[in-house]
Structures are given as structure tokens and as C-alpha cells.
């Protein structure tokens, strides 16, 4: 992280300081998101260890192949976001990343449609936590995909780097959701 003010002049120092402040805010956002998802995933791990029967029913209802395809799509969109952040045709790569995000949302909604009949009949907190974690993540994907499109309109390097960082956070959270919920 580079928060140093490089210029000695006050007029030149102000944008650099603002830039550093924005970067700090970005990392505060990233870590607060990670802590929230970490708490939810921790609760899921504890509940699934305490109630193996509920975990088995939940696991049986999950669509693992669809989750694998969704993971592939999300990682692919992360690839495009990384290319955009490194300066390779930022506009088109940001749009491609956003399209990957929308495809992920469509796949996840399809999976929810398959899972709803079984999970809707389950009692207890485990299915509620499942909906909360995956739904919250889905909302993040949708929101940041829209942000990617907004930044793609005028892709300044600083904005592109910031939105790509948030997109990688969304990737990272999904990679943590996968072993905790789907692969267990």
C-alpha cells in the first residue's frame, strides 16, 4: 500500500493524500467484509459440526456441479478484472468481468431453485445460515458487477484498480465459502 505524499507542494499533495485516504478506506471495506463473512462461515462450521444430520440433508440438496461451474465463471471473471487492473484494454476487460458476475448470479439463482424445495422444509439455523451466506455473497457479486460496468464507462487507472480489488475480494470470499459449505 502506498500512502506516501510524494509532492512537496500543497496543491500537489492534496490529491495524493486523498488517494491514500481512499486506498485506506478501500482496505477497511475489504477487511470488514472478510470479517463479516468469516464470522458467518465460523458459525456455519460450528452448527454443521453440532448437527451432522442437518448437514447431511443440506449437503444432499446442494448442486455441486452447478457450484463448480459458478466457481469457474467467477474465477474467469477475476482473470478479466486482473487484466483490466494491469492496463490491458481496461474497458473491455471490465465489461467481460461484469458479464462473468452476471452469469454467476444466474447460475446461483438456478441452484437456489433446485435447492429451495428441500431446504425450505428443513428446520434449524443451518439452512438459514446457508441462505444468509450465499445470498449475501450473491448480493455482493451483483452490486460489484454493476460497479464494474460503471467504472468501465470511464476506466481511470485508480478506479479500475479499486474496483478490481473489490472484485478479487468477492472471488476470495467465494473460495472460502466453497470448502466450508459445498465440499464438506
Amino acid at each position: 500500500m502506498n500512502v506516501a505524499v510524494r509532492s512537496s507542494g500543497l496543491r500537489a499533495a492534496k490529491p495524493a493524500a486523498t488517494e491514500g485516504g481512499m486506498e485506506l478506506l478501500l482496505w477497511i471495506l475489504v477487511w470488514s467484509e472478510l470479517l463479516v463473512f468469516g464470522a458467518l462461515l465460523g458459525a456455519f462450521l460450528i452448527l454443521s459440526a453440532l448437527d451432522p444430520a442437518a448437514r447431511a440433508i443440506l449437503h444432499g440438496a446442494l448442486d455441486l456441479p452447478l457450484a463448480a461451474v459458478a466457481t469457474t465463471v467467477l474465477l474467469g471473471s477475476g482473470f478479466f478484472a486482473a487484466r483490466a487492473a494491469s492496463g490491458h484494454r481496461p474497458r473491455w476487460n471490465l465489461v467481460a468481468a461484469a458479464l462473468g458476475g452476471f452469469a454467476f448470479c444466474a447460475l446461483k439463482l438456478t441452484a437456489f431453485g433446485h435447492e429451495l424445495p428441500v431446504l425450505g422444509e428443513m428446520e434449524g439455523h443451518l439452512p438459514e445460515l446457508y441462505w444468509l451466506i450465499t445470498g449475501f455473497h450473491l448480493a455482493h457479486v451483483l452490486f460489484v458487477a454493476v460497479l464494474l460496468l460503471v467504472v468501465a464507462w470511464r476506466p481511470a487507472p485508480q478506479r479500475t484498480a479499486a474496483v478490481a480489488t473489490v472484485w478479487h475480494l468477492v472471488d476470495l470470499v467465494w473460495l472460502l465459502i466453497l470448502p466450508v459449505i459445498y465440499l464438506g
Binding site: 474465477l75 476470495l172 465440499l183
Partner: protein, 87 residues
Amino acid sequence: MQLSRDVPFSAILVILLLATGLSLLAATSLPPGLRGVAIAALSVTKAALVVLGFMRLHRESRALAGALIGYAALICTLAGLRIALAA
């Protein structure tokens, strides 16, 4: 670290997809103990690849990159333990 010395994004993506495929294979075919270890190790690898390969955070801050990978490792280890002890 220079850009030319970094692993290309396409190679990172291929390794990420391979690791995902291996995770799914482990989830469906390994016994619980090995499954837990394999899934935890592959998941940490994927998280580290996103942080170091896509975000390239190690160029800006080694501490921040280490903290993100450490955090992911903690969650993945707990997930692996839960899987391994679920037999």
C-alpha cells in the same frame, strides 16, 4: 518484483481451475481424513493464487498479502478439520 518476472494471468487462471477440479475430485472420492487435508490445502492454494497472482498485492504490501492469505488459511484449516473429523 518486475512484471516480466510475474506468472501470466492466464497461467494463474489455469492453475486455479485445476485446483478447483482437484478439490471437487477430493470431495467426492477421498476418505474424510485425507479429504479434509486435501480440500484445506487446495483452498488455501487458490486463495493465495488470487491474492498473489491476480491482486499482485505482494508488490504493494507483503504484510497485507500475508494477512489476507493467513486469514484464508485459518478458515480453510477449520473447514478441513471439520471435514476430517466428520467421519
